[in-house]
Amino acid sequence: MQTTYSGRTHSSTSALSKSARNQSASKLALRSAVGIVLFLSTVPIIYLFIRAAQKPFGQTIDLLFREKTSRVLGTTAILVLAVVVLTLLIGVTLASALHFIRLPFRSLLIIPTVLPLAIPSYVFTYTWIAFIPGFSGTFAAIFILTLSTLPYVILATLAGLRSVDESQIEVARSLGLTNTEIFLRVVLPQIKGYISAGVLLTALYTLSDFGAVSLLNVESLTVTIQNLYRASYDRGAAAVIALVLIAFSTIVVIIDDRVKNRAKAGEAVKAPTSKKVFIESKGTRFFTLLLLAVLFILSIVIPFIVLITRFLDNRVAINWPDLLSASLSTLLVAAIGAMIALVLAAPLGILLSGRSDKFTRFAQRIITIGHGLPGVVVGLALVSVGSKLGVIYQSIFFLGFAYALLFLAKLVASINASLARVPSGIKDVATSLGANPWAIIKKVVAPIAAPGISLGTILVFLTAMKELPVTLMLRPTGFETLATEIWSSAAINRFNEAAPYALILVLIAALPTFLISRPDKADRMFANESMGSEK
């Protein structure tokens, strides 16, 4: 009797622990995968520490405390701060207007606000220099970088606004709150986390950008790093300054973390039944359309006019086979990059969808911090490692891998933002009903997270198409992309000859931006899913 009893107990506990073991085994597998991704994405940072350590300590100290370092740091801080404040003000205003105000062709109006993503910063800057001779300096850089990064904040804010519980707005309105009060007290607390994610990408973009600042003669950290490589071939010194940049982006990530943590508590999930509330006001409608028109002219019309003028001025016959092959190469290698990024981001995304533990969040932060590094640094780190790998080095796959590492943070950020929309309650219910973790991911998490994941993948694809410094270093010898073709004409001042390549690049890149800017589609996916689960 006693034996049977104990036997039964034994068997039941073993069944229980078996499922628990399965769960923990899959979690362990995921964590090791995240560990590998974390290691890969810290390669550039490890490389920097090794290079910096090779420099005599005294010289490192001199370099860090020379007057110029603080000046450059100041310039960079002003740049980042100004761009963040401006994109925050303009981006959130515009996104909210697009969301709440009844406008004609609303979903079409979103497209031009996202379109600047299709224009590489060096092309955008160049067109403005051509448009206004003598255009340079810090204000010019703030102007260019704000226009280039606005889409990140607008996209993130729009995603946040779509998750806002509209019924709360109705309640607030019935209580007599004004629109401004509703926005500040009801809406803003719910979308803070989203906005912060967009602002984070903006800040890191500004930190790592080289194209715009160098063309505009602004000495930011990235320009100093480049100058140290170029003028003194001093890789140790460049590494020291790059580590200063890493410290800077760490601060940015910590600030973002603080904002998000505070935002988490108030975050709600949109009730599927709530109806959209619109603001009807001629004044706001006019103001919104005006703002949209101004931005459209500054960031799309003017660059296009310059590019088309240059294109028409180009007297050299276009080399169509080269143009076609460069276009295909660009698409191919950017697609490889986006796919690899997706594979690398997957384990992290899955773990983040659970009750995220310290390790996962740590990994996510480190990956994000690395996103602030300029291409040259990541490129040289990968040259250092990759050149030991034989055939893989300077293959399209290695270049794709480099893109994946360079832009992984964009994917992680959008996965993270979309996972915030997965109500944790749903997962608890599913778990208690006995669904295994994979089933939960497949049936519950994936459908809700899908729009964010595809948005992130498209962002990686898009930025990879425009990437220049890493492409120059890691492309197969003789393999030319649109970006390298633009560079080789621009390097010898044949801007007219670069124009066809630049136009094609912008046009090709515009296609994925259309996809990104169609949020209604993403919304519908979300709505269908919720309705489906109700049945």
């Binding site: 040259v383 050149s387 270093m473 197969p476 010898t477 003789g478 390298t484």
Partner: protein, 340 residues
């Protein structure tokens, strides 16, 4: 074209790695076994590709050319070290060659390589040789400059107030400032640069921008390399109102820079790479450089670019080009005076 290229590349890489495994001894490659070599070219495709094509046709050996910026390619070679896929590095300036040479990544060229190039355009340790000459000049608008400057020191005089353009970030300008530091000392260089600023010097991002600005009438005179008047006029597709001028003999403003080449110590195809250097420095090819890229041939008695004095008549200062590779001091001075 692209996929084919890629397959070729993978195969090529496979061949390389197999030959590595089977242990070819470096430097003693049999020219007949070599079917292709890899060149890292800091010189622009537009100008150098015709020369490469000519050699490919002549030798039957394929060139895999990686185009990039000279300094960035040098940094890349430094990172690749022993594992560099490059056999030959062709650079726009001596500084990048010096950087690779000082890390011991170039091999000493055999004595029959570029033997006609005068010693002053070859690294003392024969790690690299000059391929073409580039003279520093002042470009000017002939109708607007009444008195031509005799020395760079003249540019701080009131006659040129607000009329002079320089490109402080440009590597040939920095090489010139390095030569000033080397010969006249840091104090002189600093006060000269400050004098320029007090005289309202205009700053440009590139040599070509200076030439364009002279043509447009923004300034009348600028410190550039001699071939930019052709480069700008070809890019604009018209004649420009800019001429080259030289300072008096021996003035540091007449510095001759070189573009040059070195063979990687890690290359398994060194003798083929050396053959390419011999082609580039041969009398015929040197003449073509003069005609097509308007650079100076480094060979003695060679003809000069149209309308310019011969290389020996320029009155260039005697400068060891190898000594200009570390321009950190120069950069610090430029930073101190606020030009960088």
């Amino acid at each position: 074209m692209t996929p084919k290229h890629r397959i070729g590349l993978v195969l090529g890489a496979a061949v390389i790695s197999i030959s590595t495994l089977t242990g070819c001894s470096s430097g003693s490659d049999q020219a007949k076994d070599v079917t292709e070599i890899t060149v890292y070219s800091g010189r622009a495709e537009e100008f150098i590709a015709p020369f490469f094509a000519e050699w490919e046709a002549k030798s039957g050996i394929k060139l895999n050319v990686r185009y990039g910026d000279s300094a960035e390619l040098a940094a890349q070679i430094l990172e690749e070290g022993e594992n560099s896929p490059a056999d030959l590095f062709l650079s726009q300036d001596a500084g990048s060659l010096g950087a690779v040479s000082s890390e011991g990544l170039f091999t000493k060229l055999t004595s029959n390589v570029a033997s006609e190039i005068p010693a002053k355009y070859v690294a003392a340790n024969r790690n690299w040789v000059g391929v073409t000459g580039r003279a520093r000049v002042f470009a000017y608008a002939p109708d607007r400059v009444k008195t031509l400057p005799l020395s760079v020191a003249d540019l701080t005089k009131p006659a040129y107030k607000g009329q002079v353009g320089i490109a402080p970030t440009n590597s040939s300008f920095q090489a010139f400032v390095a030569a000033l530091v080397e010969n006249k000392g840091q104090e002189f260089t600093k006060s000269w640069l400050e004098g320029l600023q007090d005289n309202g010097v205009k700053i440009y991002a590139k040599n070509s921008a200076i030439v364009e600005a002279i043509d447009k009438g923004e300034i009348s005179l600028g410190l550039v390399n001699h071939y930019y008047i052709w480069e700008v006029s070809e890019a604009l597709g018209r004649d420009i109102n800019v001429k080259n001028g030289f300072f008096v003999a021996g003035d540091l403003g007449n510095l001759i820079n070189v573009s040059g080449a070195g063979v990687l110590a890690s290359s398994k195809k060194q003798s083929t790479a050396e053959e390419l250097i011999n082609f580039l420095t041969s009398a015929v090819t040197q003449n073509e450089f003069v005609e097509k890229t308007h650079e100076y041939s480094l060979l003695e008695g060679a003809k000069q670019p149209e309308g310019l004095p011969a290389l020996l008549e320029i009155g260039a200062p005697t400068i060891d080009l190898d000594s200009l590779k570390n321009i950190l001091i120069t950069q610090n001075i430029l930073v101190e005076v606020g030009l960088l």
